[in-house]
């Protein structure tokens, strides 16, 4: 512990290290990783002794790699234009290894460059491997790291794994088992960038730093919870990936289940990483499994057809680039689920995600029970009242709002819903760090709080596996569709209508 750090803004400082990015010429590295590294450097958050080694099959020299990254940073960084002094300090420690991920020679070259960096940049043998590649490469890369002994040695070694963590329960277990045969669990950082978002981290603060919410955060007061991730975008150039994944694997099984876990978890005993992750996994473990019969009545999946988004005609999913013309991949998914716990017994959670919907937005809405059926809510009342709704907007317009009932001024008793609204951008300005900045820094520091533990990933798959299998079996007979620019198929509305509820309009 450095006694001079007490009271400083930068109380958490990473040790000197080398960041090794596999897939360094890819989209994620360009758009997110290098801009995030640069922002950290710009804010003085990187250790003074730091280097980056990019590994990919694209032809590059060290210099051309640096130029490529500089261009990406200039295009995507929060701090533009690039500061030449910050950049040149970063670029001096930047190297590139060209090679195939399956080829042992690649790792020999990597070892040499790493030793050179370690010597020149005094990184103490510390390595952070970032697997920014197709999931099919994860096992091969980590095996090669083991064979080349890069996964061991002086200092610490950590690996960051991008989603998806497997494509079903069996493959997730296999991947976890493989990774854990090479790295210890506390060296594996399964990244879900949603957890790096300020508004997602605010869920814990909202729940546990405000005395008013936690006492009513239970089935006595909460009617139901809706979690929506709506996108107007189609699959774009990710057709190949999306054909394999679909809406549930791409968004629901990982990001949305993390949101669910944060909303449903019990208070952790402290803010230590394992205490928080223990509670999240307990919430996921309590998910009531859907039987084959339940799946039909508790879930909806569908695919978009051609339609209009903001007055612009967009093609159907089957017409998208690199998508099969008879594809049955779902682009919309909605699920009703229950959590078998004392707190949540009987409270449905409705999850909805879709592409090419009418509007983009990610939010969690907690619907409270209506007041008792007397006074304003009597059966014969002419002023029926609505539920109070607490909405946590994850993106865009990050913030929190509370819908409540109020009397309309005048002689007659009229009641109307009004909204109290807190907006992050209004209160705190809009210059929050990108999710990847926070997560990269945490991985360098070794703080796994905002990363997914192996059992979280597996529990989530355990719930979704039967649903995905049942959907696959049914698709050959009857694929449900919805026009682009709508809120999904009618079946989605019926899922809630059957419970006398409806989706919140974003």
């Amino acid at each position: 512990m450095n006694p001079l750090r007490e009271g400083l803004v930068r109380q958490r400082v990473p040790e000197p290290c080398t960041l090794v990015i596999f897939g360094a010429s890819g989209d994620l590295a360009h758009r997110k990783l290098l801009p995030a590294v640069y922002s950290l450097a710009h804010e003085g958050l990187l250790p003074p002794y730091f280097s980056i080694i990019g590994v990919a099959s694209t032809t590059h020299t060290d210099d051309s790699f640096r130029e490529d990254m500089k261009h990406a940073i200039n295009q995507f960084s929060r701090y533009r234009p690039i500061n030449e002094i910050v950049w040149s300090a970063l670029a001096r420690g930047m190297h590139y290894v060209q090679g195939n991920f399956n080829d042992p020679q690649t790792y020999k070259k990597l070892q040499l460059i790493f030793e050179q960096c370690d010597l020149e940049r005094r990184t103490g043998g510390n390595k952070l491997f970032y697997l920014s590649t197709a999931p099919s490469q994860f096992e091969s890369i980590t095996s090669q790291l083991k064979h080349s002994r890069l996964s061991e040695g002086q200092g610490w070694q950590r690996v960051v794994v991008e989603k998806p963590f497997g494509h079903d329960l069996a493959s997730a277990r296999e991947l976890n088992s493989h990774l854990r045969s090479i790295f210890a669990e506390n060296e594996i950082f399964r990244i879900d960038h949603y957890l790096g978002k300020e508004t997602v981290q605010n869920i814990l603060v909202l729940r546990f730093a405000n005395g008013i919410f936690e006492p009513i955060w239970k089935n006595n007061y909460i009617d139901h919870v809706q979690i929506t991730v709506a996108e107007t975008l189609g699959v774009g150039r990710r057709g190949v990936y999306y054909e394999e994944a679909g809406a549930a694997r791409d968004m629901m099984q990982n990001h949305m289940m993390q949101l669910l876990a944060l909303v449903a978890m019990e208070p952790p005993v402290n803010l230590q990483p394992e205490s928080i992750r223990d509670e999240k996994v307990k919430a996921l473990r309590a998910l009531h499994p859907l039987s084959e019969k339940d799946i039909g009545s508790s879930s909806v999946h569908a695919q978009y057809t051609a339609g209009y988004i903001q007055n612009e005609r967009v093609p159907s999913y089957r017409e998208e680039e690199k998508v099969s013309r008879d594809s049955t991949t779902e682009t919309f998914a909605a699920v009703r689920l229950f959590i078998d716990s004392w707190r949540w017994a009987g409270v449905p959670f409705y999850l909805r995600h879709g592409k090419r919907l009418a509007k983009s937005g990610t939010e969690i809405s907690v619907f409270f029970k209506k007041s008792p059926g007397v006074l304003f809510n009597a059966a014969d009342s002419e002023t029926p009242i609505e539920n109070n709704v607490l909405t946590l907007r994850i993106q865009p317009n990050e913030g929190v709002s509370l819908r409540m009932e109020a009397k309309v001024p005048g002689q007659v008793l009229q009641i109307q819903s009004v909204k109290m609204d807190f907006q992050y951008g209004t209160e705190f300005g809009s210059d929050s760090p990108e999710a990847y900045e926070r997560l990269l820094l945490d991985a360098m520091i070794g703080d796994p709080t905002l990363f997914i533990r192996h059992d979280e990933a597996e529990q989530s798959w355990m719930f979704f596996d039967p649903i995905l299998q049942a959907w696959k079996a049914s698709d050959s007979q009857n694929l449900v569709t919805y026009p682009a620019g709508t809120w999904g198929p009618p079946e989605s509305e019926q899922l809630l209508a059957g419970d006398n509820r409806k989706w919140r309009r974003l």
């Binding site: 450095n2 001079l4 000197p16 002794y49 910050v86 300090a89 951008g425």
Partner: protein, 373 residues
Amino acid sequence: MSEESLFGIDQILDNLKSFWSRAGQTATTERSISHACLSNLIIYTENLADEDVLSKIVAEFVQKHPCRAIVILAQPSEKSPKLQATVSTHESSIGAHHMVACEQITLRVNGPSLDELSSAIQALLVPDLPIYLWWRGVFLNQKALLEKMLPFVTRFIYDGVTWTNLLHTVPEVSNYFQRFAGTVAFTNFNWSRLRPWREYTADFFDPGAFQKEIWDLNHVRVEYMALPGFEEGYRFRALLYVAWLAAQLEWKPLESVPDSKTSLLRFRSSKGATVETELALLPQSSPGSQSIQRIVMSIQQPGHNQDFVIERDHKQHLMVLSTKLDGTSSVFRTVPHADSSNADLLYRELGRRVRNHVFEKAFKMAARLIPTI
């Protein structure tokens, strides 16, 4: 900034209400306006020339920290009673279609009306939100007013660079610290401006760098410049830096050897070694030059000399951190550096909800050292 007109103090809140009502009516789907407020910021000054400067500071500050600003332009020597207000707003854009607006109430007050000021301000505060009082100038000149305001203030902000008689001022301020310790947090901008120097000092001694060497430091030299007339304030800043090192590293003060240009202070380190520190006033390199310019921390032992140097490069707006081992120098880190504006300093300080114990420890140590330099 917009909408400024003169009111009696009792009309202010009505005027604000009608302003927000009009703002709501003029909002459209293309352009909405929100009223945001995280705190009450009271700024007191007796320098009327500050008015424009303060409006600019408030305008910059509210972009990051929306608040109700109450600016007091006081003229204690004016004999005719006067307490008048103007109301204005600061607007900033959030995205293409959204504006955030904050109010600024400017109070002009003459000597006889200073007695009413405290109660007038309390009527203007936004309930439930913290109350920050930033006193521009020497607050010990207005003790009666200060005594009335401190009881309802959350944080009191001042700038010790304006202090002239340290031997008298520091014990008086310590007295306020003690009396209001339970309710008021204190911020001294003279300390706040040390933040980058403390950050860069800490950088040397993190794990993986020179973690062990920190306990062997036995010489520190702080070189600073001062604007004419503010020599004591800048010397106090340099002293606060040394006092911070001493408090954090558990050095015990031994003695001092003052002279006009350099103050030598000796400490006993936690390892029992003697630590020598120097506060060296340099001549100004240009008319605006001020503050700390260079810090050298050293380990001077037989056969082993190691320096840790932090130095400003004014031309390139850099802070250069370097090490020197037995005569061989190497750059440790180069960081872009610009002096913080007052709005930046305010923003950083107001993000802290609790008392700053590190500052208080350093101030206590500095207060102990003052009589010896």
